[in-house]
């Protein structure tokens, strides 16, 4: 089991909504080895983002176990080193240019030195933004912003990449290009990928696909 980047057993999560308690996850089991990509689809409100937040250690589970490379806990500092996240809304810091946004991930680890700057430039070049490292997010298109976000997510050489509908704000062509990039980079860097998406075509390109329905993950 030591080659498992992520191991989830019987994961449960519910929310209180007025008098009702809504169970969003009712016992999710999942294992992802290094370098594998999986996709999770499901209807809106099915719990995809909740699952991703739990996998990122940002939310608290009701029951079950999550193990990150054998470790039962993921502290804030450890999260920066272990996993990267890509969001639908990009979430770039508007005051920082593309390079500084990517470097921000390294700053979180306290390693923003020359090597990190070189890696940030290399990653931006790899995502096709080598000429735009000094541009602010407001000067970039949606697809370009998402590529900066992908570069930032990979900056610290994470073992796990969590992508929450990364193409949701992009047109089909640009979205497809971003998915290509994500998959290529994960293969290149042997990074495990969990891709949450509505898009069946994008989901089909990952190694395994799951449908989140009634609180359970079902292989498609």
């Amino acid at each position: 089991m030591s080659d498992q980047v992520l191991c989830v057993r019987g994961l449960r999560k519910s929310y209180q909504s007025g008098d009702r308690r809504i169970e969003v996850l009712s016992g999710v089991d999942l294992e992802i080895p290094a370098g594998e990509s999986i996709s999770v689809r499901g209807e809106s409100g099915s719990g995809k983002s909740t699952l991703l937040n739990l996998l990122a250690g940002l939310d608290v589970k009701d029951a079950g176990e999550i193990s990150w490379a054998g470790s039962k806990g993921l502290r804030a500092g450890g999260r920066a080193a272990f996993l990267g996240m890509v969001f639908q809304a990009f979430y770039l810091i508007p005051e920082l240019d593309a390079r500084a946004n990517v470097l921000m991930a390294a700053r979180m680890l306290g390693t923003p030195g020359a090597a990190a700057r070189a890696r940030a430039d290399a990653l931006l070049a790899r995502v096709g933004l080598g000429e735009r490292t000094g541009h602010l997010p407001s000067q970039l298109s949606g697809g370009e912003r998402q590529r900066v976000a992908v570069a930032r997510a990979l900056m610290n050489r994470p073992r796990l990449l969590l992508a929450d509908e990364p193409t949701g704000n992009l047109d089909e062509r640009t979205g497809a290009a971003v998915i290509d990039l994500l998959l290529e980079l994960c293969v290149e860097t042997n990074t495990a990928l969990v891709l949450v998406t509505h898009n069946a075509a994008h989901a089909a390109r990952t190694g395994r696909s799951f449908l989140l329905q009634n609180g359970l993950l079902k292989p498609i």
Binding site: S49, L58, F87, Y91, I93, P94, A105, M108, R152
Partner: protein, 409 residues
């Protein structure tokens, strides 16, 4: 540089923007408060410094006073001169007199000086603006500038002096003629009250006018540089004969100095509210920033930022605004101090109230003396208040849960 500080600087001075409006307004608010504090505290300090300087330069740092007269003053002066820390001592005599010139009377105080020693204790000679201190003899006086103006006398004129001894003589049906003396010089200290109420003579002339014989009214003492005036006064008291007592200039003017200090402290306290109000505006702006950047704060958490670091990022913005505001405020304050006299005199000229200004404020120039202690206090308090201004937004930011922050609309 730790990322909270880096991000705080970037949020205050975003890349690619020449004029960060929020930062400029916040810094300016703090700077204006600091500048006002510096100007007002320096002017208040200037009044205090000028008064100290005038007292010390005209009367020495320690004054020995008698309940009646100082008898055998040369022996007392000799004793005082031998006290460790004493630079020199000089006797004086004098009191109220009436003077008259061309039918115009005035009622100043006369101060009789021992010409052999007065130069070692006071710097009166440096205040002479017409004539010469060296021309002063037993048949002449030096007039305060306002006294001279009131009676219309100038150097070389002859004036008449009537002393209280005249009344005593008249009681005994004796004839006592006023003393006619020459004006040897005009002296201007710069303090209206002193310049319009004092004339200076030799010790012998003052002794004659008051019928003191060989006695004097008191002795002024100058201490060596660095010697504490209170310690000096205590040491002198230990060698003085009964009936004499030494007071430091601070003792002699303790009530006045207390009022001055109280005034200064009250003004400082009230003006500090300007900085506090500026700090509230910083808090308000940073709170808006926290709300506006909720998703970014969530992102920082998702990237691995700890709540304490997120808090530090916003708190640091308060500190930076405080430090920059203080630096600009100091510059602004000192620049305003440099042109203070031009501004005040310009305003006085425009309103044609120059004389009124001198009459009420006693000084021909607006004095300023900035003490290092005042500057340190202003810097310290401003930075602390600005840091506190960042705490509430920092606390709000630190409390945001990444999941909820990322979901926020």
């Amino acid at each position: 540089m730790p990322w909270p500080l880096y991000l705080a600087l970037k949020q205050l001075f975003p890349s690619g923007r020449r004029f960060p409006f929020f930062t400029a307004i916040s810094v300016l608010g703090v700077a204006l408060g600091v500048a006002l504090l510096i100007v007002v505290m320096s002017v208040m300090g200037g009044f205090e410094f000028k008064i100290r300087q005038m007292i010390v330069e005209t009367e020495g740092e320690v004054q020995v006073k008698a309940q009646g007269f100082v008898e055998d003053y040369p022996a007392v002066v000799k004793r005082i001169d031998e006290v460790p820390g004493v630079e020199a001592a000089t006797p004086y005599a004098g009191g109220a007199v009436m003077i008259e010139f061309n039918g115009k009377p005035a009622f100043p105080l006369i101060r009789g000086l021992d010409l052999a020693t007065v130069g070692k204790v006071t710097q009166l000679a440096s205040y002479v603006v017409a004539g010469s201190f060296d021309d002063l003899d037993d048949d002449s006086v030096i007039l305060g500038s306002e006294v001279a103006r009131m009676i219309g006398a100038t150097v070389g004129d002859k004036i008449e002096i009537y002393s209280p001894l005249l009344i005593e003589k008249l009681k005994h049906d004796e004839i006592f003629l006023p003393r006619e003396v020459r004006v040897a010089g005009i002296l201007e200290i710069g303090h209206q009250q002193l310049d319009k109420s004092t004339i200076y003579s030799t010790l012998r002339l003052a002794q004659d006018l008051y019928g003191l014989g060989g006695d004097v009214h008191g002795i002024d003492v100058r201490m060596k540089p660095g010697v504490n005036e209170d310690d000096g006064a205590a040491r002198i008291n230990a060698v003085l004969p009964a009936g004499l007592r030494a007071f430091s200039w601070m003792d002699s003017f303790s009530d006045f100095l207390w009022v001055l200090a109280l005034e200064k402290n009250m003004i400082f306290f009230l003006l500090l509210f300007i900085v506090i109000v500026a700090a509230f505006s910083v808090t308000s702006s940073l709170l808006i920033s926290v709300v506006r950047k909720t998703r970014e704060i969530g992102l920082l958490g998702a990237l691995g930022g700890r709540p304490l670091h997120v808090a530090a990022c916003f708190c640091a913005q308060g500190v930076f605004i405080g430090v920059l505001g203080t630096a600009f405020g100091l510059g602004l304050g000192f620049a305003a101090l440099a042109v203070r006299n031009d501004v005040v005199l310009g305003l006085a000229r425009i309103t044609q109230r120059q004389e009124v200004l001198e009459r009420f404020y006693q000084f021909s120039e607006l004095p300023a003396h900035t003490s290092a202690g005042d500057v340190a206090l202003i810097i310290g308090l401003t930075v602390v208040i600005s840091t506190l201004a960042g705490l509430l937004p920092a606390w709000r930011a630190a409390r945001l849960k990444p999941v909820e922050a990322l979901r926020s609309e």
